[in-house]
Symmetry: D2
Subunit: 143 residues, 4 copies
């Protein structure tokens, strides 16, 4: 599988007054997994997300929420990139609720997908993905 | 139109290091508009989102991001409910970037949709929407 | 009184699994009141918080939490600036829990104080407050 | 030293439009370190922060911000509890900015302190710390 695995504990401020993680916060966790995958591919985060002429905003997101998450729950996140066009790619995420020691198998807590488009930050015109990012996306797409 | 309008200024902590509002934060703003619409329909927020036996989690979300939002930008949010089944409904959101005084017409900053399912918080089995919520959804669906 | 008043409803994602607003989130609300006060003084937010050579980070914060806040609660926030030195100022905040119609008087939910220092964003050396900000701070300090 | 160490990478949504971590978000990171320390002491998070009759809200916080934090920065957080009274304790935090491989020594990014009071969630009257929490606090205080 071409996916990257990121592990994360659910913290108290991730939760809301229903006692579980707020739906939009799952997407923050997905983005953390994306960042960890970039860092593991040697792409430096300090400059990647800053505006250096090119920016790579998220154009679409969708998520299906399958299980509630509680403070202290342990998550594993898979992230798999797919090339869409010369200037865009998608990320598919699976969030797994990891069992406590001795318990049953992991269960899916959510699945999500984001679409990313590379643009010139001044003209907002589409631009090809920068080489290091393209290499990461294409290696995973081919895997 | 069956939509509710909610107005909101973009604040500094809504933004990220790219200088604009983080994609998942648009969904927080959508939820604020949902809350204001419920309050305007006479549904008390203090108890609606607490676990009182019935909970109404979000099962799906999707969003298309059309324009970046900056600190100080003024937003208008429309929210329109649609009945799906006896125990579920959808909300469609349009986020409008409002012009400064004397400027051009509002432009769409994003559109989003969330799906909500009413369940028993212990058994996780589906339950009909509570009456006040059903009335609000059905009035808008019929409009 | 030299204070500025900002009104704000507590939203669901402001809360945590204890059912109330998370302590650090009170400081986000204080910052919103600071932004509204700046905007009311004619200082444009879109550029104020961006790095334009000068930045004005917060060097210290302190808060005392007096009452829990629930989803749907209505808050009023006072913010009063005080000049400290040529390159720094403080903000004192009072967060009032506003009563429902016909109910008793407002009660203090929290008090907070932040200290702000103006620096050159490259050298990190202290710089005098920019004129529009200094005018706002000094008018309030003198009031 | 009686402190607990927690390591954490700064993620993109931790940052704001000034390109650095928003001041109040440092306190979220402190709370994560507190949670990890509790978990390491065998105190289950899923129930600790829920309202089970006793709640332990934060009554005061203060922080001094010493260095900006960027996306991708690596932090180490020390947390040291101190007993105050039968029903309260304080936590002292030091946030260290960890150097990249081969770089200089860690530098302090912030120090913070929170005060916690145990109360009955219905009457809001003070109650002694529950035994497992008291044991953790007192072991560290005595160290």
């Amino acid at each position: 599988m071409a996916a990257f695995a990121y592990a994360r504990t659910i913290h108290f401020p991730d939760t809301d007054a229903a006692g579980v993680v707020f739906f939009a916060r799952y997407l923050f966790i997905c983005h953390e997994a994306y960042e960890e995958a970039l860092a593991a591919a040697g792409i430096p985060l300090a400059t990647f997300f800053a505006d250096t002429g090119l920016v790579i905003p998220i154009a679409k997101s969708e998520a299906t929420y399958l299980r509630p998450l509680l403070c202290g729950d342990r998550l594993g996140v898979e992230v798999a990139p797919t090339r869409l066009t010369a200037d865009s790619f998608a990320l598919d995420f699976v969030l797994w609720k990891l069992p406590a020691a001795g318990a049953a198998a992991p269960k899916r807590a959510a699945v999500a997908r984001t679409e990313h488009v590379c643009i010139d930050s001044r003209t907002r015109e589409r631009r090809p993905l920068p080489p290091a990012l393209a290499a990461w996306v294409d290696a995973a797409t081919a895997a």
